[in-house]
Structures are given as structure tokens and as C-alpha cells.
């Protein structure tokens, strides 16, 4: 089922949680709503499910307005962050609940429960109570419960937020695999970019209740449309500068900024892997710290007169040869983006500059 959300706005007192939000989710898609906490993404999900009501705007299921539908009549499966399993019911009873209240026969319930226990890898746990399960198992039961009545839409609110890293990885894999098998239109909310990018077909970045950008993981990583997306997605270095003759200066680093008038204040965003450097006693920066993060090394350097710059490379990268804390280096920025600081709505200036020291 396709979902269309149009002009959704929701206030909680003075706080504008959702601000004129519109998106379209195609039938069978698996979409991630990605944003920092408090960005309004969960509220949007709850409005789609009918658990919250919007102040203005509308939700359409396959083109038909859904606003008047009681949440129990929307055919929506909802997975809660903290599972919300019925604690006084066994796993089987939890999974059968939707079919039971919708009047399905015992035979049908039992078949469906068995099918889902198999699909979710929960065989043999049917008679346990939720309190006797691990976090990952509980979340799979919650998923099975939501899927049992064959919903037209599956909504997941921070589904893997409450489990530890290893189980989270496993559950992501599950969700992706499940979606490839069941093909139900799904939206999941997360603040974890890795999760959004590894699981979803399409990612919608949400900030302050508005849609910042929507696209495939590659589109969002390679062509961030707004400064927020550029800063939020992947770690990045951000510098404030002023455009002067189609370029801006970050200390000794010259960054070309074509297409912006002189005097424009810009934010220069440089990804951790969009730069290179080499040892050069006459260079313009000093390495401050190097930390090994598993298979990668993070290098922190101080640019003369412009503050810190972070970079990250594979541990065996040739770039790291001869680099050690305290040494002088020469930096070259291979890719940077500039965004006008004022809401001048200039598109991002995608640049592949050759950077030279002054």
C-alpha cells in the first residue's frame, strides 16, 4: 500500500514537533526516517498509525484519506521501541492477539502463529512469557505480532534502540531479509545513520519536523542538499568562512566556492575521508592525536590559525606512513561542500578543488 503524507503539522504546546511535512512512500518500499532525537520523526510515525492526531495536514493510504480511521481500523502493524509485548500473555498468545481480536478462528490463529515463529526464528519459544526472553527475542516477537494480521503497512519506532550492538546488527539483517520476503510497505524510525543506510531502500532525513532530504543512501551520502544533511550524515569538519573572489579561506587552506557572491558567509563541510595529507616540515598543520578505532585510524590535526581538522583512514592506508603525533603535515582537501550560512536557499556547491597551502 502506498502512503502519502501531506502538509503534516503538529504542535506540543509551544514546541513545533512536525512542520509542514510531506512525503510519499511507494507500495512495497522499505523507508527509513532518519533524524536526531526530537526531530519529530516518531511523532510522524504515530500520526500515520493514528496514535497521535495532526493539527493540520493529512495522511493518505493508497490515495484515500486515512484521518477519520480509528487506529484499530487502519491495518497498520506497529512495532514499539520498548516492545510493548503483553506481559501476561505467552509468545504465542502475543502473536495471535491481532487475529484473535479480529475474530479469526483458533485453527487459523494456530497456523499463523506457527508460520511466524518459523519466519522469525522463534521456534520452541511459543510458551515462554516476554519476561523470559532476551531483548532481541522480544523485538522479534513484537515484529511477529505486528505482522500476524497481515498489515498493509509496517511501522517501526526505533525498533533496535533498546538492544545491544551485536543483537542490533542481527536484527537489522532480519528486518532486511524479512522485507525481501514479505514485501510489506514499511517505515522505520531511527537516529542511527548506519542502520538507516544498511537497511532501507530510501532514507528520509528529518530535522526540526521538516524533511531535509529524501533519496537512496548513495544520493544522500554523495549529494547532501542542505548543510544539516552534510553535517549530520557521516562525521564532518565544519568551518565558517566568507566568500572572496569565488573562494574561501580556512586558515591557510583555500577552498574554491564557485557561484556564491563575494561577502557571503558560508559553512564549509569537509568529510573525514575527503582529504589527504603527507609529512612536510614546511606544512601548515600539526598532528595532535592519532587514535586507532578497530580497523581505522582517526587523525586529529591543528591547522595553523584555523582550528582542528579530523580525518579517518583505513589502518593500513599508505597515507598514514610516517605520520605521528607532533609532526608537521601538508593537507589537501579533495572534496568539500559550501552552504550559505543565511537561509539564502542556494543549492550546495559541490566542489572537487585542488587545495594548496598559502
Amino acid at each position: 500500500m502506498g502512503i502519502r503524507i501531506e502538509g503534516l503539522t503538529k504542535r506540543f504546546g509551544d514546541f513545533l514537533a512536525v512542520n509542514n511535512f510531506s512525503v510519499r512512500v511507494e507500495p512495497g518500499e522499505l523507508v527509513a526516517f532518519l533524524g536526531p532525537s526530537g526531530s519529530g520523526k516518531s511523532t510522524i510515525l504515530r500520526i500515520v498509525a493514528g496514535l497521535d492526531t495532526a493539527d493540520t495536514g493529512a495522511v493518505y493510504f493508497n490515495g484515500a484519506p486515512a484521518g477519520h480511521l480509528h487506529p484499530s481500523a487502519r491495518g497498520v502493524g506497529f512495532v514499539f521501541q520498548h516492545y510493548a509485548l503483553f506481559r501476561h500473555m505467552t509468545v504465542e498468545e502475543n502473536i495471535a492477539f491481532g487475529l484473535r481480536v479480529q475474530g479469526a478462528g483458533r485453527q487459523r490463529q494456530a497456523e499463523r502463529v506457527a508460520e511466524l515463529l518459523g519466519l522469525m526464528g522463534l521456534q520452541g519459544l511459543g510458551h515462554r512469557y516476554p519476561s523470559q526472553l532476551s531483548g532481541g527475542q522480544r523485538q522479534r516477537v513484537a515484529l511477529a505480532r505486528a505482522l500476524a494480521p497481515a498489515p498493509k503497512v509496517l511501522l517501526l519506532d526505533e525498533p533496535f534502540g533498546a538492544v545491544d550492538a551485536k543483537v542490533r546488527e542481527e536484527l537489522r539483517h532480519w528486518l532486511r531479509k524479512l522485507h525481501d520476503e514479505v514485501h510489506v510497505t514499511s517505515i522505520f524510525v531511527t537516529h542511527d545513520q548506519e542502520e538507516a543506510f544498511s537497511v532501507a531502500d530510501k532514507v528520509m532525513v528529518i530535522h526540526q519536523g521538516r524533511l531535509e532530504q529524501s533519496g537512496t543512501p548513495d544520493e544522500i551520502l554523495d549529494h547532501p542538499k542542505t548543510e544539516f544533511v552534510a553535517r549530520f550524515i557521516g562525521e564532518a569538519n565544519v568551518y565558517e568562512a566568507t566568500v572572496q573572489g569565488r573562494e574561501a579561506w580556512v586558515g591557510p587552506l583555500r577552498i574554491p566556492v564557485p557561484g556564491l557572491p563575494d561577502g557571503t558567509r558560508v559553512s564549509i563541510v569537509i568529510r573525514l575521508y575527503d582529504l589527504k595529507f603527507w609529512r612536510d616540515d614546511g606544512g601548515h598543520a600539526t598532528v595532535v592525536r592519532m587514535s586507532t578505532l578497530g580497523d581505522r585510524v582517526k587523525v586529529e590535526a591543528e591547522i595553523d590559525g584555523a582550528g582542528r581538522i579530523l580525518s579517518q583512514f583505513p589502518r593500513r592506508s599508505s597515507l598514514l606512513q610516517g605520520i605521528e603525533p607532533g609532526c608537521r603535515i601538508h593537507i589537501e582537501v579533495t572534496l568539500s561542500r559550501a552552504y550559505a550560512s543565511e537561509a539564502a536557499a542556494e543549492g550546495p556547491a559541490d566542489l572537487a578543488p585542488r587545495l594548496r597551502a598559502a
Binding site: 484499530s72 481500523a73 520498548h82 492477539f97 481480536v101
Partner: protein, 274 residues
Amino acid sequence: MPKRARTRHLNIPQRAIVLAVAAYLGLLLVLPLGAMGVRALAEGPGTLLASLAQREALEGLLLTLIVAAICVVFNGIFGIAGALVLTRHRFLGRRVLDALVDLPLAVSPVMTGLAFLLIFGRGGWLASSLDLLGLKVTFAVPGLILATLFVTFPFTLREVAYVLEELGTDEDQAATTLGASPWQTFWLVTLPNIRFGLGYGIVLTLARALGEFGAVLVVGGAISGRTQTATTFIYNALEERQEPAAYSMALVLALVSVALLVAIEWLKRRRGRE
């Protein structure tokens, strides 16, 4: 639950405090109850049974049980409804309502009785309409029921509200998104989840209803065979110097209280574990 401190870890002043508290409790709680038990059984269990088998005693006990049962049912239903309204909804005057619920705990039962006399008694505000309907409230069973309902109102509501607050609304919402009607959600999800809190509230209601004295005395007048409850029976028996009867009934009430106490402890633990 914190581990019980072991005696050998206590120093001298601590031991003194423990001893003092134990003595205090003994003097206030154990001694009177024990004395009553001894006194009630002093003339042998035969006398005890005989005095309990009196028509008046049985009638009083029965009346108390009926009143208590009615309180459990009505305050159970309204307690759950009130708790749901107070915890799940935000509306104008919610705080006032929330504070009013505790009124019966703050007001002396004798005052409650007087207030009911003022409304329903002879020359009271509603007296003429009650006369028209041919209903008698004061110095009759309906008055006892009303007064006890008032006195026991907060217990179920408070206990259920506490559990509902802890529970949150996730499970109810999950039920709703799975297609359950509000009624199905209540019976299949909410009620099973609050059952221990509800049970605790009911036991407290029972204990309070069985022991109520002031309000039922003022409203009902303790008329033998009509409005005499178990507690007012004890009072009357003492007045008439029928001490064995008074002590026997007191012992029965005390035993019921102990049973309820055990139930309370069990429910508290279950509720805590939920």
C-alpha cells in the same frame, strides 16, 4: 528489596534503637491484640462460640459483610474508571479532582456521618424528595452503605492509578494497532495488567469497610437488628456490659484483619514484581 541487616553488625546504640522500636511496637500492636485474644478465650471457646452465635452478633457480622461487598463492587468499578480518567487524560480541573479523591482519607469518619445526616436526615436537604420516593437513608442500611462507600472510595482508585501510571500506554496502543476495540483492549490487556493493583485496592477497601465505626454509628445509629454492624455490635455490647460478646466479635474482626494483612503482603509483592 534491601537485604535485612544482620544483628552482629549492629553496634550498641543501634541495638538500643532496635530494642526501643521493638518494645514500642510490642506495646502498641502486639500486646493489645494478644490481650484481646486471651480475654476472648478466657472463658473457653464454648463461651466464645456461644456469644458469636447470638442472633444479634450474626446479623451484625452479616450486615458488615454485605456493606463491605457492595463497597468492593462499586468502588472497584468506579475506582478503575476514575483511575483511567485521571491517569490517561488531561483535562481542565484534573488536579482538583485528583486532590478530591483523597478527601475521605483526610476527613474524620464522624464528620462524614454528620454530613450525610445533614443531607439525608430529618429536615435534610434531600429529605423531602427521599420521603416522596419512600426511601429511608439515615438510620437504615442505605445510609450505612453510602457512608462506607464514601470512606473507602480512595483505595481502589489510588492503587489502580499507581499501577496504570507505572504501566504506561504502550501495551494498550499496541492492542489498538492490532485491531482491538477499546472494550477488547480493556478486558484483554488493561485489566489483566492491573489485576494485582486492583486486588490490593480491594483488600484495603475490605479492611477499611469491615473496621468502619464512626461514620456508620452516626448515620446508622447502631440499631440492633437493623443497622448494627460488627463494630457497632462491639460498642453496644460493651455499653451493656456483655464483655465476652464484645471480645469474641473483636477477635473475629482481628483474625479477618490478619488474613487481609497476609493478602496485602502477597499482593504487594506480586504487584512489585509486575
